[in-house]
Symmetry: C2
Subunit: 120 residues, 2 copies
DNA sequence: TGAACATATGAACAATTGTTCATATGAGAT
DNA sequence: ATCTCATATGAACAATTGTTCATATGTTCA
């Protein structure tokens, strides 16, 4: 075994073993982390918010956020790669929208959490 | 006005203006992003997952994840700062648990999203 | 009081990130 | 074809990140 750490004491060995056994796999953890990370930037949060209101092309999204087309396009790629947004080509334009309902749910849960923190 | 970008064409001016007006504030976007970012790391994902199973002290969490106490403690601070986890001192130990139900909801929605992507 | 233990934290480092600038691609219009 | 427009992408850079190592804090027990 490689992962044996002798460093720390274990207080509740039973629980540790049980949770260790049930632990999510490396790949799953990575994928979840990547997905959250993709939402972990103010620019991309604004993009998600804007797209939750309406399907938008890149140039209108740039105008909405007051950011360069390049910056927005780079960020869209990240969201695209993690399937957080989907897109449709229409002539010269490319229209983006949220990929599925989970995205908006996560967004809303996060808003609730943040608002609840404020109230305390 | 400072934020005038002349660079891009606007296709749907009405929508752009409407969404611009309804856009979330800078502070809110930052806070949301920070919260998502805090979840955007495999180590912290595993911590959240472990704590969703059971309240755990730092040393048991270290053992569960097979990581150093220091590394876990640093990550816990990030989760603590964003109120994603709460803690309780008990003798020499400090027990951590998820702060509220939104955290687990977000986690679960993300799992659903990731699983749905796999199926496609 | 002092020793042992659980946790937190500061400094340091490589690795990753978000933006800008310049340029490429690819579609529609002339 | 050529020109223009909408979008994508590569390179470069400062800024931020996660871990390790060393050390500090604070609690319990003798």
């Amino acid at each position: 075994m490689v992962n044996e750490l002798c460093e720390t004491t274990i207080i509740d060995k039973k629980s540790v073993e049980a949770i260790k056994k049930a632990m999510i796999e490396r790949g799953t953890a990575d994928r979840l982390a990547e997905t959250f990370k993709a939402l972990g930037d103010p620019t991309r949060i604004k993009i998600i918010y804007a797209l939750s209101k309406k399907r938008l092309c890149v140039c209108d999204l740039s105008a909405t956020l007051g950011m360069s087309q390049s910056a927005v396009s780079h960020q869209l790629r990240i969201l695209r790669n993690l399937k957080l947004v989907k897109f449709e080509k229409k002539g010269k334009s490319v229209y983006y929208s949220l990929d599925d309902d989970h995205i908006l749910s996560m967004f809303e849960k996060c808003v609730e959490h943040v608002n609840e923190q404020k109230e305390r």
